[in-house]
C-alpha cells in the first residue's frame, strides 16, 4: 500500500534534492538522482502491476481498483476531499507511459543538456513534472486530478521558459500557462457542478450516482462540457491550441515528454476516466468529436507548411491529439486512448530524434538548411524513419492500429467526419515525409562549420531512440482489429472501466460495420497514406525542391504558414482590449472617475462653503465633510432604488431612537 504512495513521492524527493542542491551537486550525482528517481518510480509501477496489488491481479475478473487514502485534504461541512490515490487499469497504463517514457527522456537529457549550466535545475524540474503528472493520473477524485492538472502546467511553464534570459521564450511560457488557465477555469466550474450535484468529487461516488441518470441529462451535459474546456486547454484543441507550437521554445526533451507524450494527453485521460458522464452526454461527445476533427485538419494544414523541425512536430502533435478526441467523441474511448499510447511512443521518438538532429546541426532547426543527413547520423536517421512510418499509419507499425480503429469508429458514426479525418491523415503522411526527406535526403544545405561538426549523438541519446523505435514498431500489437481474428489486449484490459457506460447505454462498444467494410476502410487509409508519401517523395524526395524563403511565401500559403493569423486574432480580441481597458481604468476611471468623485465633490463643497471658512480652522473639516458627501453620493448612485426606502426607514428609526432616549429608558 505504502509502495503506491512512493510512486509519486520518489520523483518529489528527486526534485527536492536537485532543486535545493542545484549549483552545489556535481553533474553526475544530479544525473543519478534525477534519472534514478524516475526509474525507481518505474520499477515501483512495474512491481505494483506484477505483484503488489490487493488480492487479484489486474487482468482477473475480480480485480477492484486499489484505493490508498493518505489523509483528508480539504474538509468543509459535508464535503470531504481526500488526498487519495486510485490504481486501476487506466491509471496503470498511464503510469507505465509516464515513468517509462519519462525515464528514457531523463536518460536522453543527460546527453542533450550536458553542456547547460543549469543542468541540475533542469533535472529538478523534470522530476517535479513527473511528480505532478503522477498525481494527475493517480488521484481518486477530481480535485487531486486538478492538483496534477495545474502542477504539470506549472512545470510546463518553468520548462518552456527554461532559458529565461530570452524574452520571447518567457512570453511563450506565459502564454502556455495563461491559456491553460482559461481551460482550468472551465475545469474548476465543472468540479463545482459535480459537487453541487453529487456532493462528492470522488470518482467512485460520482460515477455510481451518475449511473442512475438519464442519457442527455442537462446537468451532465454541462459538467462534461465544462470539464472538456479544461481538456481543450491542456490538450491544445481549437480554440486553445496556439500555446503548444510556441511551447517548442523549451529544450527538446521537454517537448518530447511534456508536449507530446504525457501532459498534453491529460485531457484524453480525463475523458476516459469520466466515461460514464460522457456517455450520458451525447451532445457533449458530438461537440468533442467535431472539435477533434477541426483541430486535426487545421493543425495538419499548418504542419504542411512549417520549416522548423520542431514546429512541424508540434502541429503534428496538435493534429494527433485531435484524432484522439475524435475517437473519444464517437464513444470509442479505448481507441482514443490506444492512440495516446502509440503516440507517446512515436512522437517521443520523433521529438528526441529531432533533438538529436538539432544537436548534430549545431542548434539549427530550419529544415531548409539541412538535407543529406542520412549517412551522417545513421541511428538517428533510421529511428526517425521508423517513427515517421508509424505516425503515417502504415501497417504493421504502431500508429496504424490505433488510428485505423479511430477511423473505423468514425466511419460508423458520421461519414463526413470520417472523410475529413482521412484528409487529415493524408496531410499527416505528407508533412511527415516532407520533413523526413528534407532533413535526411538530398544534399547538405547547411554551412561548412555545421558540416564539419556533424556527428552522431552520444549513446545516452541514441539508446532511448532505439528503445522508442522498437516500441513504435511493435506497440500497436496490443490492439489488433477484430477482423484480423487476433486479440485486442488493450480493449480486454480496459473493459472493466466501462461498466458504467455499458449500464447507461446498452449500445456502448458495439461497432456497426461489417467486416468487408472494415477491410475496405483499412485499405483506403493505407492507400491514402501511401499516396501522400509518394507525393512527398516526388516533391522533396530527391532534394531538388526546397521550400521557399520566408520572404517569398505569398498568398494562401502565407496565410497558412502564419497559422491563419489566429494569434493576431486573439491579440485583437482579448489581449489588446484588456490592456486598453487596464489603461483606461488606471488612468481615467480610477483617478478621475471614482477618486475624482470623492475629491472633486470635496473641492466643490469646499468652494461653496468658502464663506463659512471663517468658522473653520483648516482644510481638515472641509475634507472630512466633502468625504461624507462624496461617499454618500457613491452610495446613492449605487443603491439608488434602495436609498428611498432606506431614508424613509431611517427617518422612522431616528424618531424611534430619539423617543427611546427621550423616554429615559
Amino acid at each position: 500500500m505504502s509502495l503506491i504512495a512512493l510512486i509519486p513521492l520518489v520523483p518529489l524527493i528527486g526534485f527536492l534534492i536537485n532543486g535545493l542542491g542545484f549549483r552545489k551537486i556535481p553533474k553526475n550525482v544530479v544525473s543519478i538522482v534525477g534519472v534514478g528517481a524516475s526509474f525507481i518510480s518505474f520499477l515501483l509501477v512495474a512491481y505494483t502491476f506484477g505483484y503488489g496489488v490487493g488480492d487479484a491481479a489486474f487482468n482477473s475478473t475480480t480485480f477492484q481498483p486499489i484505493t490508498v487514502t493518505l489523509f483528508d485534504w480539504i474538509t468543509v461541512g459535508d464535503l470531504n476531499i481526500p488526498f487519495a490515490f486510485q490504481i486501476d487499469q487506466l491509471t496503470i497504463i498511464m503510469l507505465f507511459i509516464i515513468t517509462g517514457v519519462g525515464t528514457l527522456i531523463h536518460v536522453y537529457s543527460m546527453g542533450y543538456m550536458s553542456h547547460d549550466e543549469a543542468y541540475g535545475k533542469f533535472f529538478a524540474y523534470l522530476n517535479l513534472f513527473i511528480f505532478f503528472m503522477l498525481l494527475l493520473v493517480m488521484g481518486n477524485n477530481y480535485v487531486v486530478m486538478f492538483i496534477g492538472w495545474e502542477g504539470v502546467g506549472l512545470c510546463s511553464y518553468l520548462l518552456i521558459g527554461f532559458w529565461n534570459k530570452n524574452f520571447d521564450f518567457g512570453n511563450a511560457a506565459r502564454k502556455a500557462f495563461i491559456m491553460n488557465r482559461v481551460g482550468d477555469l472551465g475545469f474548476l466550474i465543472g468540479i463545482f457542478l459535480i459537487i453541487q450535484n453529487f456532493g462528492s468529487v470522488v470518482y467512485a461516488d460520482v460515477f455510481q450516482q451518475a449511473q442512475s441518470m438519464e442519457v442527455g441529462n442537462g446537468t451532465i451535459v454541462a459538467i462534461t462540457a465544462f470539464l472538456f474546456i479544461g481538456a481543450m486547454g491542456k490538450s491544445a484543441q481549437i480554440p486553445l491550441f496556439t500555446w503548444l507550437p510556441d511551447a517548442m521554445a523549451g529544450p527538446t526533451p521537454v517537448s518530447a515528454l511534456i508536449h507530446a507524450a504525457t501532459m498534453v494527453t491529460s485531457g484524453i485521460y480525463m475523458i476516459v476516466r469520466s466515461n460514464v458522464l460522457y456517455t450520458l452526454a451525447p451532445g457533449t461527445l458530438e461537440f468533442v468529436a467535431w472539435i477533434g476533427v477541426a483541430t486535426a485538419v487545421v493543425a495538419a494544414t499548418i504542419g504542411m507548411f512549417q520549416n522548423d523541425i520542431k514546429k512541424v512536430l508540434a502541429y503534428s502533435t496538435v493534429s494527433q491529439l485531435g484524432y484522439m478526441f475524435i475517437g473519444l467523441g464517437v464513444m470509442a474511448y479505448t481507441s482514443g486512448f490506444f492512440h495516446v499510447i502509440t503516440h507517446a511512443f512515436f512522437k517521443a521518438l520523433l521529438f528526441l530524434g529531432a533533438g538529436s538532429v538539432i544537436h548534430a546541426m549545431s542548434d539549427e532547426q530550419d529544415i531548409r538548411k539541412m538535407g543529406g543527413l542520412w549517412g551522417k547520423i545513421k541511428v538517428t536517421a533510421i529511428t526517425f524513419l521508423l517513427g515517421t512510418v508509424a505516425i503515417s499509419g502504415l501497417p504493421p507499425f504502431a500508429g496504424f492500429f490505433s488510428k485505423d480503429e479511430i477511423l473505423a469508429h468514425t466511419f460508423a458514426h458520421n461519414k463526413l467526419m470520417w472523410a475529413l479525418a482521412l484528409l487529415g491523415s493524408f496531410m499527416t503522411a505528407f508533412y511527415m515525409f516532407r520533413l523526413f526527406f528534407l532533413t535526411f535526403m538530398g544534399n547538405f544545405r547547411g554551412t561548412k562549420e555545421q558540416a564539419d561538426h556533424l556527428h552522431e549523438s552520444p549513446s545516452s541519446m541514441t539508446m532511448p531512440l532505439i528503445f522508442l523505435a522498437v516500441l513504435s514498431v511493435v506497440g500497436g500489437f496490443i490492439g489488433f482489429p477484430e477482423v484480423m481474428h487476433l486479440p485486442h489486449f488493450l480493449a480486454d484490459f480496459l473493459s472493466p472501466l466501462y461498466e458504467g457506460s455499458r449500464a447507461v447505454n446498452p449500445e456502448f462498444g458495439v461497432l456497426h460495420i461489417d467486416h468487408a467494410t472494415e477491410w475496405t476502410l483499412m485499405a483506403v487509409s493505407v492507400g491514402v497514406a501511401v499516396g501522400a508519401i509518394i507525393l512527398a517523395y516526388s516533391l522533396y524526395g530527391k532534394g531538388k525542391n526546397v521550400p521557399a524563403e520566408d520572404s517569398e511565401i505569398t498568398g494562401i500559403q502565407k496565410v497558412i504558414y502564419d497559422k491563419y493569423y489566429i494569434d493576431e486574432l486573439y491579440a485583437a480580441l482579448f489581449i489588446k482590449p484588456t490592456q486598453a481597458l487596464s489603461r483606461v481604468f488606471a488612468n481615467v476611471i480610477e483617478p478621475k472617475g471614482i477618486d475624482g468623485a470623492v475629491n472633486g465633490i470635496g473641492s466643490l463643497v469646499n468652494a461653496l462653503s468658502g464663506r463659512l471658512r471663517t468658522i473653520q480652522t483648516g482644510g481638515t473639516a472641509a475634507y472630512l465633510f466633502s468625504m461624507c458627501i462624496g461617499i454618500a453620493l457613491i452610495l446613492i448612485i449605487n443603491f439608488g432604488y434602495d436609498f428611498v426606502q432606506i431614508t424613509t426607514d431611517f427617518g422612522t428609526n431616528l424618531m424611534n431612537y430619539i423617543s427611546t432616549i427621550g423616554s429615559g429608558k
Binding site: I74, T75, L154, F167, I189, F192, I631, N638, D649, N653
Partner: protein, 483 residues
Amino acid sequence: MITLLLLIIPLLGSGILLFTKNNSSALPRNIALISSVINLALIIYVGFTYNAQSAAAFDVNYPWISELNINFHLGLDGISLLLLALTGLLVPLIVLSTAKYSYEKANNFYALILLTEAALIGVFLAKDIFLFYFFFEAALVPVYFLAAIWGGKNASKVTFKMFVYTIFGSLFMLVALIYLYMQGQTANIQELTVTAKALSPATQGLLFWGLFVAFAIKMPIFPLHTWQPAAYTESPTTATMLLGGLLSKMGVYGLIRILLPLSPVGVETFALIGIILAIIGLIYGSIIAVQQDNIKRLVAYSSFAHMGLMAAGVLTGSLDGIQGALIQMVAHGINAVGLFFIVKIMYDRTGTRSLSALGGITQKAPALSVYFMIIMLGSVALPLTNGFIGEFLLLKSVYDYNAWLGGIAGLTIILGAVYMLRLMQRSMFGEINETTEKFTDVSGTEVAVLLPISIIVILMGIFPNVFLQLTEPAAQAILEMIK
C-alpha cells in the same frame, strides 16, 4: 488571564520602547522582536490548550462603563484564534523585515508596530461591540503615524486621506452599534444577535449598510477603495505590510463577526449588491494590475482584488464562503507581507519600482527568485499552495450563490496569472541591465523572513484542514445564529 496577557505583552513592549533611548535601531528592534516572539509563543500555547470545552476558561470580563452595561469582555473561539495566529506570526516577520535598515526615532517606530499588534489582538478578542469598535479604530492610529512620519514625500497626504476615509466609514458603524445597543440594552455581541433578529427587515437593512460601509472601506471594497492603492504605495513598506497583511483583515473579520450575526435579514436582502460590488472590485483591480508599471502599486491592486473575493464569499452566508474567507485571510496576509517585502528588496537594491526598468534579477539573485516564485504561486492559487484552498472554497461559494457571478469571479484565476507572471517575467527574467547588474542576492534576516513564508505557503496548501478544522465550529455557530 492568559488572554489578557496577549494584549499586555505588546503594550508592555511598546511602553518599554517609548522609554528607550533611540541612538540606534538595533536595540528597539530587538525589544520589538522579543516582545512579538513571546506573544507568538503564547498564541501557539493558547492554540494547543484551546478546545471547545476550555473556551470559557479564556474569557476575560471586567466592567468597563458599568452604568451602561459595557464591559471589557475578551474571549476566544476558533476564528479568533486563527487571526491571532496570523497576527502573532506576521508581526515578528514584519519587525524582522526592517533589520537591514535604520530609522530615525527607531524606538517610536517599533513602539507603533507593537501598538498596532495590541489593537489587532484586541479586535480579534473583543466580545463587546464597543470594545470591538475601540480596538477597530485604535489599530489605525499607530499605522497612520508610521506611514505619515516614515513614509515617502506624498505619504502624509495619502495616509491622511486613508485615515479620514476609514474613520468616516467607522462613524456609520458607530451609529449602527449605538442603535443596536439601545435596542438590546447590552453590548455583548452574542446577546445582541438575539436583539438583531427581532428587528424589522427595514431596520436590519439600515444596519447592514451602516456596518457594511465601515468594513467595506477598511478592506477595501469597490468603489470605496481609492485610498488604498495610494496609501499602500506611498507608505513605508512596514506600514504597507501592516495594512495589507493585517488591518485589511479586520474588515473581513468584521463582516463575519459583526455584520452576519447582527443583520441577518439585511445580509439576505442586500448581500447580492455587496457581492456584485466585491466582484466588480476583484475584476477591476485585477485588470488595473495587468498594465501596472509600479511594482508596489501592482501588488496593492492585487491585494485589493483578493480582498474582494473574500468579501463576496462571506456575503454568500455559506459555510464554504466563510471558511474560504478565513483561510484566505491567513494565506493572503502571509503572501502580501512576502510580496511587499520582495518589492522593497527590489526597490532598495535598484532604486526603482518601475517594472520596465528591471529584468534579469534571477541571474544575480537565484535564491530571491525561488522565494518570489513560491509566494507568487501562492498568490495565483496554484494547488498545493495556501492560495488555492481559499480561492477554491470562495469561488465555489460564489458559484453556488449565483453561477454567472461565480463564472465572472473565476476570471481572477486567469487575470491573476496574467499580472503576476508579468511581474515575475519583467523583473526576474530576461537580460540584466544597468539597473540590475549590481543586484545582490538575499541573505541573513531577509532569508529569515522569506524562508518561513515560503514554507508556510506550501504547508498550508498541503494541510489546510489544520486551519479549516480549527474554525469550522465557530463558523457553524455564526451560521446557526443567523438562521
